[in-house]
């Protein structure tokens, strides 16, 4: 089955917060679990080996999508953003590992938690999303909370 491209609007398709909030909270849960399993894996493995296993998992998911859903890569002009996003995801992971490798986790992780602020600014500039005072305050609360959660390592 082929996924349908978006028409270009930024409005939620399902008209309620649940449409984006449920997958966002699912992501939060899965990546939260990832923190535990990664820590358990790193008891015996080095981080480059973990990158290899992560790459294999992505490859299996991608091959499954191609095999089951007949998904194909389209080289439409805006596929460049897909390529850029893939490159960013992989590069960010390497940067995080490099930072942790040369610094203390208790210092690095709280600092890296500030990235939603970058998204907030870029989303307003590039996507023309509303940076309302409520949204800025809520994002600040999440960042501050995450820093408190991670500052003790």
């Amino acid at each position: 089955m082929k996924s349908e491209p978006r028409s270009g609007d930024d409005e939620p398709r399902f008209g309620s917060a649940a449409a984006w909030l449920i997958p966002s909270l699912s992501y939060m849960m899965l990546v939260g679990l990832l923190g535990i399993t990664t820590k358990l894996a790193l008891d015996d493995l080095e981080w480059p080996q973990l990158v290899l296993w992560t790459s294999i998992s992505y490859a299996v998911i991608a091959i499954s999508l191609v095999a089951l859903g007949g998904q194909r890569l389209q080289l439409v002009p805006d596929a460049r953003w897909g390529v850029t996003s893939g490159g960013f995801a992989a590069t960010a992971l390497i940067m995080l590992f490099l930072a942790i490798d040369s610094g203390e986790v208790s210092t690095v992780i709280p600092i890296t938690a500030s990235y939603p602020a970058v998204t907030l600014v870029l989303a307003a500039l590039v996507l023309k999303e509303r940076a309302t005072p409520k949204r800025i305050l809520a994002t600040s609360l999440v960042i501050a909370g995450v820093i408190l959660l991670t500052v003790e390592g």
Binding site: W20, Y27, L34, Y58, L122
Partner: protein
């Protein structure tokens, strides 16, 4: 002298912050399945570079099981992130998604018996309150 970790940490903040925006831009033209394939390709290139440059090998045995589970969580997690961005604004989805240390803290307390301090309790309250506000915005 600037700490060695600061440059890659700053690069992570900028790249990860930009990722939410480029993903949203990508999802205007392609579907989340196709985006997942592009991401898998990027990781495959990364893995091949690691193998070519440093001679890394995929280890089996102790630790590999948790690595496989971690890989599954990472890839399914990314899938849900794409679904969220397909349906909601990047400036709301990314902050909520970034609250995952809350889950790690709770699970670490339950599964690894790590301490639940006053600071972590306060952090939990701030994160939950922030998520609720973003959901209502």
């Amino acid at each position: 002298m600037t700490a060695d970790w600061l440059l890659p940490a700053a690069a992570f903040v900028v790249i990860e912050g930009a990722l939410g925006v480029t993903t949203k831009l990508a999802l205007r033209s392609i579907g989340w399945r196709e985006l997942l394939i592009w991401t898998a390709l990027a990781y495959a290139v990364l893995a091949l570079c690691l193998i070519a440059v440093s001679g890394e090998r995929v280890p089996l045995g102790a630790g590999a099981g948790w690595a496989v589970v971690s890989g599954i969580f990472a890839s399914v997690g990314l899938l849900t992130f794409f679904l969220a961005l397909e349906r909601g604004e990047a400036s709301k989805v990314v902050p909520v998604s970034a609250a995952y240390p809350l889950v790690t803290a709770v699970l670490a307390a339950l599964a690894l018996s790590e301490e639940v301090s006053l600071l972590r309790g306060l952090g939990t309250i701030l994160v939950v309150f922030g998520i609720v506000q973003l959901g209502r915005d």
